[in-house]
Structure formats: C-alpha cells, structure tokens
C-alpha cells in the first residue's frame, strides 16, 4: 500500500496549542534583525545593491548583519542603507576560501587594512573547526577583534569555540547556526561562556507548524538574551528566501511570550551590534 493512513499522529496535530504558550506573542508585526546575510560577488549581477536593499526592507527587517566574499559587497550595501546594514568583515576575498583562509597569513593584513578604514561590528562569518582554531591566523583574528572591540561570527564546532575563548576569555562570539548542535549542548556552551551568542540560521528544528520545540523552548527561556535569527544567503538565490524566512520566524516566535519573542527577533542582535558599533 503506497499511502499510509496515520490517523492518530495527525489528530495530535489538530490539537490546540499545548500548555506553556499562555501569553504568547502575536508576532506578525515583530521587527526582525537578520544576523546572517552574505552579499558575495556572485549575487551582484542578479541582485544589484539597490534590489538587495529593497529585498531586506520588503522582508520587514529593521537591520541586517551582512558579511560578504569579498567585503566590497557589504560596503556597497552599507553605503546605500547605513541605517539597515550592520557591516561584518569577512576574511574571504572571494568564494573558494572557506577551507584555506585560516592558513593564509595575508588574510590578517587584509583584515587589518579594512579595519583601519571602516567601522565594522564584527569579523566573520568564518569557518573554522577543532584544532584549526589555534592556528596563527585565527589567533591573529581573535586579537584583532579584541583590539577593535568587535565580535567574531564563527561557523564552528564547540571545540573551536572553546579554543577561541581560551585565547581570549573576553571575546564576544556569535556562534553561527548555534554550531548545528543540540539545544542542550548549545545551552551548555552559553552557560559556560557569558559573551557567546547563538544565531539560528539554517536551523529548522526549533519549531514545527509554528510551535516551538520543547527542548529549544527550554534553551530560549534559560538564555533569553543570547539567541538571534538569521537566514544565511550562502547562494545568491537565497536572497529570495529572506522574506519567507522572516515570516516563518515570526510564526514560531508567536508561540513564545512576547518579551522573549522580541529578544530573539531583534533586541539581542541590536544589543550586540550596538555594543560593537557604539565607539
């Protein structure tokens, strides 16, 4: 039989919202800050800067953390919409450097040069895993972030995050994709490191059908000021997903108490950006 009837399971879906959602937010109007946007060189033709800004505004974003390969993409957007763009300096000059940048000392010179010319909120999003986080280039990047009092946006496993904090216990780190870790493990990391934040980019499992997963709810409630949203426009086409993503996020945020929903939607990201940019 090709089509299976699953009556009981579906009936469960039809039940009213579970207990614990009392005081839930009506999140349809929530401003959203998207903390994980890239505007890399292969997006520039199909989505010129003015169209990119329009896409972010159409999604109802109040701000967007943008990092790009090359960084010129970020600067083009910031020049057009300084109120909207939170510039984050990516250590990649073009695509293809994800796996090699941390062994390339010239990256540090490039970052130092850019940081001398413009104000950035952070360095990233970069990819580094495990013991690679102890390489000289990464150590130099961690130092640069400390010197400029900006955050690091790290796509890393927990091991690499720990190594970064070993290098600089006061580092401010935005953990991309919450490390694709289980919510319990994310919570453990947040408990261990007070200046660690976690973005939820490319994570779908925190909610289903507009209902927040209980384990994620527990993590959000335990660390109400540490999570934020993100789309991750890792391919140019995904710029056309930013609005869908914001709507999807508002739908599950509505299942949380309003203050917590507001924190995740925009307040936590705004606080991190303001800390970094208010110099």
């Amino acid at each position: 039989m090709r089509l299976l009837t699953v009556g009981l399971l579906c009936l469960a879906w039809a039940l009213p919202p579970a207990a614990g959602t009392a005081g839930a937010a009506d999140a349809g109007d929530l401003p959203v800050i998207d903390a994980h946007i890239h505007y890399s060189h292969d997006a520039w033709d199909m989505l010129p800067p003015d169209a990119a800004i329009e896409a972010l505004r159409a999604a109802g974003l109040s701000r967007a953390f943008v990092s790009s390969s090359s960084d010129d993409g970020t600067l083009m957007l910031q020049d057009l919409a300084p109120d909207l763009i939170v510039p984050v300096l990516r250590p990649y000059r073009r695509r293809g450097e994800i796996g090699t940048w941390h062994s390339d000392p010239s990256v540090v010179d490039m970052l130092r040069d850019r940081l001398a010319k413009r104000r950035y909120a952070g360095i990233g999003e970069f990819h580094v895993f495990g013991a690679d986080a102890d390489k000289p280039v990464i150590r130099a990047v961690v130092k640069l972030a400390a010197e400029h009092r900006i955050f690091l946006h790290a796509h890393s496993d927990a091991d690499a995050i720990r190594r970064i904090f070993m290098q600089d216990p006061g580092a401010h780190v935005l953990w991309a994709h919450s490390g694709f870790a289980h919510p319990e493990d994310v919570a453990a990391m947040l408990a261990q490191h007070e200046t660690l934040w976690a973005d939820l980019a490319f994570r779908s499992e925190q909610a289903r059908g507009g209902k927040v997963d209980p384990e994620w709810r527990k993590a959000f409630e335990a660390f109400p000021k540490r999570f934020m949203l993100g789309t991750d426009t890792f391919a140019p086409e995904r710029w056309h997903y930013v609005a869908d993503h914001a709507s999807w996020s508002r739908a599950w945020l509505a299942d949380l108490p309003r203050p917590l929903a507001e924190n995740i939607a925009h307040r936590n990201a705004a606080a991190l950006a303001d800390w970094a940019l208010a110099k």
Binding site: M1, R2, V6, F202, S204, D232, F234, R238, D244
Partner: protein, 373 residues
C-alpha cells in the same frame, strides 16, 4: 561449459578481471537495484486505478488537445511517447514557456511525490496541475468541464466510464476525474528490463556468461556508482531514486529578480491544494503521511532526485534542463561547487574529481539503465 569458459577467459584478462570481480558488499549494493520490473502499484485514492476501461480512456485523454484552453496542447506534446515521455527541450513549452524541464513519465506510478518539487502527492493531482496552469494547458476547472462536454464523442465515452456522477459534477470534480483517468493510464508506463537488469540477475544467479556479457566499462562505472561516487545513496533501489528532494548546487534563478523555490514553493502549493490524497476529491480520504511533510530551510532550491531508469533517453537534465548530456551531469558532480551547498547541508555531496576515463565509465553504466520499449 560455456559459463566456465567465459569465466576462464575473464580470469585470463587482468584488466577486465578487476571489473569482473564484485565484493560481497558490492553484490549487496547491486541487489538493492532490483528486481525489475516492479509490480504495478494500485492507488487507493484513485477509483480508476487498474481499471482497463479507464486506462484505455486515460490514454485517449493523454493525446486529446481539446482539453486545453485553446484546443492546441495535449499532455503528449511535452510527454512524447517517442521521446521517453519527455520533449527534448531544456524547459517545457505548453501554451507558454515554462521554467522546468519535462520529467519523463516512465515508472511514474511508483512515486509518492510528483513533479520536480513534489507539488502533488497523487498522480491524478499531478496530472491536473498542467491542465490548469496557464503556462502549460491553460484550462481552469470550469473551462475544462465545458470543453469536455462540447466534444460529444469524448463526453459520451467519459460518461460511460464515470457514470451518472459525470452529469452532477462541478468543474473541480470533473478536473479531478480527468486527472484520475490520465493517472490510470500513466500507472501502466513501466520501463522495460535493461542490460543492467540482465547483468544483475546474472551476477546474483551465478551466471558467469551473463556477467561477462555486460560491458567492462559499464562494470567499472557501476563500481564507481556504488563506491567512490556514493551515487546510490540518493539514486537508490530499483528505481534508482529516493523520491526525495535535494539541493545539488544547481542555480535556480529563472530570471532577474525571480527564482524557482523548488521543494519549498511546491510544498506550500501542495498544502493549499484540494487535489491531494487527503483532500475532498480523494477516493480514500483521510490523514496521510504526506500531509506531515515538514517545511525546512534546505527545501528552498531543492529538487527531485530523479529516477535514472531511461535517463539516457531523457536529455537534457536537471530541473531546468541546464545540462545537455549525462557526461555534463557527471562533470557537475565531479567539479561540485561546495559553496553553493550549505556546509551542513547534503553532507554526502563532495566533488568527486573524476578522471576522464572514470566519467566515461559512469556514462557507460548509466546508459545500461535504459532500453527502448
């Protein structure tokens, strides 16, 4: 005696001998790709499924142009039987140019999701989508009912199959019924046994002559397919498909400012559709597993993992027909741009860095999955 002779000759040829030898694990992997043909499946949501009269009438409807808005497009225009039920074009052309490549209908009755993005969970639902889409046949439900009635001979035979219900049905019900009749016909489109199927039977049946008859280059390609390439993780089972959706690094812009959202968009379309297994037109309505399909970020830009049976006859390839040959498809995977895939997305995809001869071997293997009917 002949079998022993073939085996002896094979063992005397060092180059070929390697290709002749399949480990226990390889044999098991090869076993998974059969037997073929699979038994035809009956669709409980379609009361006409397996009905000989409905199948014959469905075939007639398949070639019937009068169902389209302007009376000029039939299903068979894009799904040409002489072209493995595709059209050879990059993207389909009905009443207007479409954005997706025409999928073959061979073995379509074995699927659970239909179309490149799985906008339907029934073959009849999938069959009426092109009827209504303006870019394909441009025939919204009320128009379809009227056009069917205008064709006296067609209406007469339709009534003979559907019964009195035909008179009382509204446009939507008539559309669903037409879809079911078309589906009844398409369920019968089961591709023939191929050189690979004969080889598989020989290998598992300890028939050295049958094994030896399969080209050495195809054998090497098969080893790559189930080995270094890991192609069989997605192109699995007798159909060489998983009925799933993946993003494999293909661009999916359809013009400046527009993208094909793939599975993401089509899952939303499915949810809103009345023409589904759990919907009001189903002949076995009720909750279905397909209703629980979860919308995920990875669905954006993901497309069907197509069956590889008859693939050699269905060029060009991929959801947008962007790759003209099987060799181009293999080169796509060989040189995969990992930055178009999310770092934690389809983790099994890695550039294969295949040599020229490996690419040729894989093409040779894939060609053995096709056969003229």
């Amino acid at each position: 005696m002949i079998r022993r002779l073939a085996l002896a000759i094979a063992l005397l040829m060092p180059g070929a001998a390697l290709a002749e030898t399949f480990s226990a694990a390889e044999r098991e992997a090869i076993r998974e790709h059969g037997p073929w043909p699979q038994a035809a499946l009956s669709d409980p949501t379609n009361r006409f499924s397996g009905d000989p009269g409905a199948i014959a009438f469905g075939e007639r409807l398949f070639f019937e142009r009068s169902l389209s808005a302007e009376g000029d497009v039939a299903c068979a225009q894009c799904h040409r039987p002489d072209m493995a039920f595709t059209d050879g074009r990059k993207t389909a052309r009905g009443t207007a140019d479409g954005a997706r490549n025409t999928l073959s209908l061979w073995n379509v009755g074995q699927m659970r999701w239909f179309g490149w993005g799985g906008a339907s969970d029934t073959l009849w639902g999938a069959s009426v989508r092109p009827l209504a889409l303006m870019a394909e046949m441009g025939a919204p439900p009320e128009g379809l009912r009227a056009r069917l009635r205008q064709n006296a001979a067609l209406w007469h035979d339709y009534r003979a199959i559907v019964g009195q219900a035909a008179e009382d049905a509204d446009g939507s019900a008539v559309t669903a019924t037409v879809g079911k009749l078309l589906a009844a016909y398409q369920e019968t489109l089961i591709s023939p046994r191929t050189a690979f199927d004969r080889f598989r039977a020989a290998l598992l049946g300890d028939d050295p002559a049958g094994v030896a008859a399969y080209p050495a280059t195809a054998k090497r390609g098969l080893k790559l397919f189930i080995g270094k390439g890991n192609c069989n993780l997605c192109h699995a089972g007798p159909l060489f498909a998983t009925d799933g959706f993946e993003s494999v690094g293909m661009p999916h812009f359809i013009g400046p400012g527009a993208v094909d959202k793939g599975r993401y968009g089509d899952l939303l379309t499915f949810r809103a559709s009345a023409m589904k297994a759990s919907g009001p037109h189903s002949d076995a309505p009720g909750p279905m597993l397909t209703d629980q399909a979860r919308l995920q970020h990875k669905d954006f830009g993901a497309f069907r993992v197509p069956s590889l049976r008859q693939a050699a006859l269905t060029a060009p390839y991929m959801h947008n027909g962007a790759l003209p040959t099987l060799e181009a498809v293999i080169r796509h995977y060989s040189d995969l741009d990992m930055e178009r895939l999310h770092a934690d997305g389809a983790a099994i995809l890695r550039p294969l860095h295949l040599s020229k001869s490996e690419i040729a071997d894989l093409v040779a293997f894939l060609e053995t999955l096709s056969a003229a009917p």
